[in-house]
């Protein structure tokens, strides 16, 4: 049964205007019909299996394989996707085996993004219906096959735990029905279960990927072991946009185990019998770089350019009432500038890619969030047609947005073209940090005005930032507005204010590439908006929770999570000296969230987050423990970044190297985190990123509550140290 999307769902999905735009521009899906192109298409499989769609394969020996359209990078999607299929297929999760989907936009396009991609917390929202339908389709065919064999009405049979049961209690397992079911036409309309009949969805399921992750058997991209494989490591020009001028490899080639030095346009790689030989070889190279046009770029020069650009009027992202008319009459005016730094991803698994290029084929072993793009770039580099490029996707040792870009694959294939046989290219941690695709630097200007009665009447927010969309999904960059850069600031900004203006100034920093980072646009906007709203509460001497409540009358779900978080955190009760609470609310990725952080600031200015209370309303819950885990992990990820992390440039070079100077949160700095889930049957929202988004403002607002100092620039680092 096709489901027409209703207004509520449309609203929940509207946050992704850019994604929809992008998909529509690609000629693929339109939101009007919530149906990805992949459903109904058949994957190429052996004839003896039942495979009514690209996600389910059942063999006569009763093995049931679910093909995972989304990649597993810790967010639990292999389990959630499996639950959606298994709920309707009526099989135990313990009985299924999983397989990573091959590269194919046709079969495995993300319904919300229009191509094969895992990102933006879209897996459950996007595949919520298609995967249940995939499971139901197979179940209906199996029931039909059994009913025919028993000569009974299919409606009198039911499926349960991998078997079809007749009205008289006869049972046939799915495997025994495969031959007959595979000959049946694939039904184009299937009825889905009423949510009240769910037995799996909404219950805590053990993650399917965990057992092999505790005994060393799990295979990440970096663990690919191909017979005859060589190992390589690489140095790219330390200045972005620079080139390799010359390299003297005589010392490197003399090292035992070094086999080859490969030069490409902007990098050099050493190939050896193992990573150690390659590493030693690389450090023995005498390399001369042509730094190119960005050799003088510094963080300061970039920020100066942004500050200037932010004086210009931007492209309007939201306009309610008339800000320009309202602000001159304001009785009280507040102005503020916020800044957020470039960030690296620093996933624990350093960038790597294993490639085997031959005359007429190319095989790739990697963990990537964009499988078909990996295939496309390899096709471009090798000149081979895409169907000759086989991508074996692996578990990702963290993605966080880094693996939404294929620069590492492009480089690896270019190197592998010059190597005889398969080669695994692994970046050092330093290379990984210094050649990332960075979270943009953000420069935000705010102005707000109150009337005589301290009512907030005018609000202006100008975002100045690079456009990730213009680079990553050009069709989605429409009329100069980057919907991601203002996501969380514009139409999703929940506060009821009569005159609102939000505009966007695009400013591209020279010398580096910006890209997706966990929480994407909202990680930036929720920090600045929630911090500024807190400033406005303080300016009118109002309690931060009360002030928000007074502006959220039209936002019941935002208000709901705010009230829940405030209650669970005992907002308003007393705390020891030097400890304070801060709050944030957000609507992002279809999920409503509020966090209260309890923060201690020492006399030396050291910040310790003691406790975080997080209330989540993500609509229909699939795997509750995964939601809790994603909130916990997302909060830790956002907390470390807000406290410590930044990438800075000098002489066009990234100054940070490794975890010593790109500091991330460690266990001794981790707070207690309590997660409270709101249960309802609204359309499912995303959960991979929301936790990261709201922690920085909750913490910064708590710091203000303790110290009276407003954090307007991240990271916090030593800003609170007494002068």
């Amino acid at each position: 049964m096709l489901k027409q999307i209703d207004d509520e769902e449309r609203k929940a999905l509207s946050r992704r205007t850019f994604l929809v735009t992008s998909a529509a521009a690609g000629g693929g899906l339109l939101l009007g019909v919530y149906l990805p192109r992949s459903i109904g298409a058949k994957a190429q499989v052996a004839d003896e299996a039942l495979s009514p769609n690209a996600f389910v394969r059942i063999r006569p020996d009763d093995t049931i394989t679910l093909i995972m359209p989304q990649v597993e990078m810790g967010q639990g999607t292999y389990t959630s996707m499996s639950m959606l299929i298994a709920e309707e297929l009526e099989v135990d999760l313990a009985k299924v085996s999983l397989e990573a989907a091959p590269a194919s936009d046709k079969l495995y396009a993300n319904p919300l993004l229009g191509f094969q991609v895992t990102g933006g917390s879209t897996s459950v929202p996007g595949f919520w219906e298609p995967l249940r339908r995939a499971g139901a389709t197979a179940r209906i065919m199996l029931i039909q096959a059994a009913a025919t064999q028993w000569n009974v009405d299919p409606a009198s049979c039911k499926a349960e735990k991998g078997e079809v049961i007749s009205p008289t209690g006869e049972r046939l397992n799915y495997g025994a029905l495969v031959d007959a079911a595979a000959k049946l036409p694939v039904p184009d309309k299937v009825a889905l279960k009423d949510p009240k009949d769910f037995t799996l969805i909404g219950t805590p399921a053990k993650r399917l990927d965990t057992p092999e992750k505790v005994n060393g058997k799990a295979r990440f991209g970096i663990d690919a072991m191909i017979p005859g494989m060589k190992f390589a490591t690489v140095a790219a020009c330390p200045v972005f946009g620079g080139k390799l001028k010359s390299v003297d490899d005589s010392k490197a080639m003399a090292i035992k185990g070094v086999r080859q030095v490969v030069k490409i346009d902007n990098a050099v790689a050493v190939v050896g019998d193992h990573m150690w030989a390659a590493m030693q070889g690389l450090s023995a190279l005498d390399i001369e770089w042509d730094d190119g046009p960005n050799a003088n770029v510094t963080t300061e020069s970039i920020v100066e350019q942004m500050a200037r650009a932010s004086q210009n009027e931007g492209v309007v992202a939201r306009s309610d009432g008339d800000f320009a008319k309202a602000i001159p009459g304001a009785a009280k005016r507040i102005d503020a500038v916020y800044e957020m730094p470039f960030l690296a991803h620093a996933a624990m698994e350093p960038m790597n890619c294993t490639v085997h290029v031959t005359k007429d084929s190319c095989e790739i072993w990697v963990g990537i969030q964009v499988v078909s793009r990996a295939q496309a770039t390899a096709a471009q580099v090798t000149g081979l047609p895409p169907e000759k490029i086989q991508v074996h996707n692996h578990l990702l040792g963290g993605g966080f947005g880094r693996r939404l870009d294929v620069d590492g694959v492009t480089q690896a294939v270019a190197i592998a073209k010059q190597v005889d046989g398969p080669v695994k290219i692994v970046w050092s941690r330093e290379e990984d940090i210094q050649h990332d695709v960075y979270r943009p630097y953000y420069y935000d200007r705010f102005t707000a005005g109150f009337d005589e009665q301290d009512r907030l009447v005018a609000y202006h927010h100008r975002v100045t930032a690079s456009s990730i969309l213009a680079r990553w999904a050009p069709p989605a960059f429409v009329n100069g507005l980057d919907e991601d850069a203002v996501n969380g600031a514009a139409k999703e900004m929940p506060y009821d204010i009569p005159n609102i203006l939000v505009d966007y100034v695009r400013d591209e920093p020279p010398g580096l590439t910006t890209g997706w980072w966990r929480g994407v646009g909202p990680t930036h906007n929720i920090f600045v908006v929630e911090s500024f709203i807190d400033e406005l509460a303080a300016a009118t001497k109002k309690d931060p929770v009360e002030f928000r409540r007074s502006l959220l009358g039209k936002q019941p779900r935002v208000l709901g999570v705010l009230n829940l978080a405030a209650e669970k955190a005992a907002w308003g009760t007393s705390l020891p000296e030097g400890v304070g609470r801060g709050v944030s609310v957000q609507f992002a990725m279809g999920t409503y969230l509020s966090q209260v952080a309890e923060v201690e600031v020492s006399k030396e200015g050291e910040v310790k987050v003691r406790r975080v209370v997080c209330a989540v309303d993500c609509g229909q819950i699939v795997n509750p423990d995964t939601i809790v885990a994603q909130m916990e992990g997302g909060i830790i990820f956002g907390l470390g970044a807000a406290l410590w992390s930044e990438v800075t440039l000098e002489g066009g070079r990234v100054k940070q190297h490794n975890f010593n100077d790109y500091r991330v949160l460690r266990i001794n700095e981790a707070p207690q985190i309590e997660v409270h889930l709101v249960k309802n049957t609204e359309a499912p929202g995303g959960i991979g990123e929301p936790g990261t988004i709201g922690i920085a403002p909750a913490m910064a607002n708590a710091i203000f509550a303790v110290t009276g100092k407003r954090i307007r620039k991240l990271p916090i680092k030593d800003q609170l140290r007494p002068a």
Binding site: E72, M73, G74, Q75, G76, K206, R207, D209, T210, P211, K213, V214, N215, G216, K217, A218, R219, F220, I222, D223, M225, F231, K256, G257, D273, H274, M275, W276, M279, A346, A347, M348, E349, P350, L395, L396, G397, G398, G399, F400, V426, S428, R429, A629, E632, G633, G634, I636, F637, N658, F659, N660, V664, L665, R666, I667, N668, A670, Q672, I673
Partner: protein
């Protein structure tokens, strides 16, 4: 040609003396459960046991481990502490991406071996050298506690 004892098996390996154990395990022996994270002992992903004590294999030259007992994630389940830790890890559902977890489990098993009943502070002290970017720290604490309380 150093001879190493890895997970109870003696192996003669044709590798240079200064080669870090990490790369011997991963690239020569083919035990890929031990992970490369930083290369300079800052993240703990490469943790293995040397005679039962945790070491960072990325900075440990193979010449330093000759004649000693090397245990990796692939065999830690054969020790009592290791099995308890793995069990608790599954019970508490600690793991997300899982890349750092080999190292976390090796550090945790070593902690339990030396301190059967660690406090939160002792857990933090023993585990602060192991970075997890997915942020599973709370569950690591809980799992170590659970393992320490299991018979």
């Amino acid at each position: 040609m150093p001879t190493l004892t890895i997970n109870g098996q003696e192996q003669e390996l044709d590798v240079p003396d200064d080669m870090p154990l990490l790369w011997v395990l991963r690239d020569v022996v083919g035990l890929t459960g031990t992970k490369f994270g930083c290369g300079v002992a800052l993240c703990g992903a490469c943790t293995v046991h040397l005679d039962g004590r945790p070491i960072r294999s990325c900075i440990t030259p193979v010449s330093n481990v000759v004649g000693k007992k090397i245990t990796t994630i692939e065999a830690i389940g054969e020790t009592e502490s290791g099995a308890k830790i793995q069990h608790a890890w599954l019970n508490i559902e600690v793991v997300q991406c899982g890349y750092c977890q080999s190292g976390q489990i090796m550090s945790a098993a070593a902690l339990l071996e030396s301190n059967p009943n660690p406090t939160d502070v002792e857990i933090d002290a023993a585990m602060s050298g192991n970075i997890c970017r997915c942020g599973t720290y709370m569950r690591i604490r809980a799992a170590i506690k659970q393992a320490s309380q299991s018979a």
